[in-house]
């Protein structure tokens, strides 16, 4: 059920819910309601309790950033309420991501941007840029692997500066080649 709801509707629902809980910050019932929704949502989405716990574990750094300053500056009860509220909202928003395919969200962007075409914006360029970005991530990962191997082969330490300079040059050259390849296929 959650998987099949329209992208736009789901996005709006999650947005309103997150907004509502964030504005009702002093109300413990709102927080409890949000947590109930998180548990129910995960069960409906078919991740089970283990999936829910795994996603909570994924939030451990955020939890650390959240909790430490609050324990310094605030009462423990207030801190607990704040942390549980923020984590609940993050998990609710995560439900959207969990139950919606990336390709469907990208299609949703296309539809949401369609009115811009009437204003003379070339929306196909936006789609092109998004898909080029996705394609570029593995390319850059491969570049960084090559550079690390080359540095090690010469017995040099892999420091950020030694890595990033060649990575930038390789990435920018690749962008130039990509632009030429696109031009050769008639994209302008």
């Amino acid at each position: 059920m959650l998987h099949r709801t329209g992208v736009g509707v789901k996005f709006l629902l999650v947005f309103l819910l997150a907004l509502g809980v964030s504005l009702q910050r002093e109300n413990p019932w709102a927080i409890l309601g949000a947590w109930a929704l998180v548990v129910l949502g995960h069960l409906l989405a078919g991740t089970g309790v283990s999936g829910l716990l795994r996603r909570l574990w994924g939030l451990r750094w955020i939890l650390l950033i959240l909790t430490v300053p609050q324990l310094i500056f605030l009462e423990p009860q207030v801190a607990l309420l704040n942390v549980s509220r923020v984590v609940a909202v993050i998990m609710v928003a995560g439900l959207f991501t969990l139950t919606t395919r990336t390709s469907d969200i990208l299609e949703g962007f296309d539809r949401a941007l369609a009115p811009l075409a009437k204003l003379g914006v070339d929306t196909s360029r936006i789609s092109l840029a998004l898909s080029l970005t996705i394609r570029s991530v593995p390319v850059i990962l491969a570049f960084s692997g090559q550079i690390r191997e080359a540095l090690r082969a010469r017995g040099r330490r892999v420091t950020p500066k030694a890595l990033i300079m060649p990575l930038l040059v390789m990435s920018l050259r690749h962008a130039e080649e990509t632009a030429e390849a696109l031009a050769a296929r008639g994209v302008r």
Binding site: F11, V14, S22, L59, W61, I62, I65, L66, V68, P69, Q70, I72, F73, L74, V78, N82, V86, I90, M91, A93, G94, F96, T97, L98, T100, T102, I105, R125, A129, L130, L132, T133, I134, S136, V137, I140, L141, S144, V158, T159, P160, K161, I164, M165, L167, L168, V169, S171, L172, H174, A175, E176, T178, A179, L182, A183, A184, G186, V187, R188
Partner: protein, 201 residues
């Protein structure tokens, strides 16, 4: 037969080159956040992503730099795990660090505008741009959101953020060094500054 214009593939237009560069830098910032790709202090969630943000603005100029950050955020909203330690999805924008991440967009704009204000680049302008944009703007966007989410006052939230300042200063220094090394080795991408040219006498 006269040569048909549609069949002649000329050199890449500025728009297409810009799209390719923005896509590449969005991907670069994503890769800089993955610990298996880039060596960082073990286990600590400090990544080189803000270094990538500074470099995007400094190298591509304000509009393409900010455009690269918009692309990255669009894909994170779409659910791809492109932020620090493979986090992504809508949850990022509900968390306490949302302001810092969204601040990358105006940050790249400010870094780019100051760094590429004139051609050739000046050390002091790059340093100013990276400090104001890459640190100042990001903190100015991030701290109020964090304060609201955590229920802290602004001074308290600022104090909590101070722990990240030494790392960000180090990244700013590296960004200036890399930008000025790159502009000598490979000046082609700095097109915004070159179009603006030298100051009028």
């Amino acid at each position: 037969m006269p040569p048909s214009e549609t069949l002649v593939a000329g050199p890449a237009t500025a728009a297409v080159r810009g799209i390719a560069q923005m896509a590449m830098f969005a991907a670069l910032v994503a890769v800089l956040g993955q610990p298996f790709a880039i060596p960082v202090v073990a286990g600590v969630p400090i990544t080189l992503q803000t270094l990538g943000v500074m470099l995007a603005g400094a190298i591509l100029g304000p509009w393409r730099g900010a455009g690269a950050m918009v692309l990255l955020h669009a894909l994170v909203v779409a659910g791809l795990p492109l932020l620090a330690q493979g986090s992504g999805g809508l949850g990022v924008y509900a968390g306490p660090t949302a302001g810092f991440a969204l601040g990358w967009i105006p940050a790249a704009l400010v870094v780019g505008a100051l760094t590429q204000w004139r051609w050739p680049l000046a050390w002091w302008r790059t340093a100013l741009g990276v400090a104001l944009g890459g640190i100042g703007v990001i903190y100015a966007c991030g701290i109020p959101v964090m304060a609201y989410q955590l229920g802290l006052t602004l001074p308290q939230a600022t104090a909590a953020t101070a722990a990240f300042l030494p790392g960000d200063l180090a990244k700013a220094v590296i960004a200036v060094l890399i930008t000025h090394a790159l502009v000598k080795a490979y000046p082609a991408p700095f097109s915004w500054a070159r179009r603006r040219g030298a100051p009028a006498r």
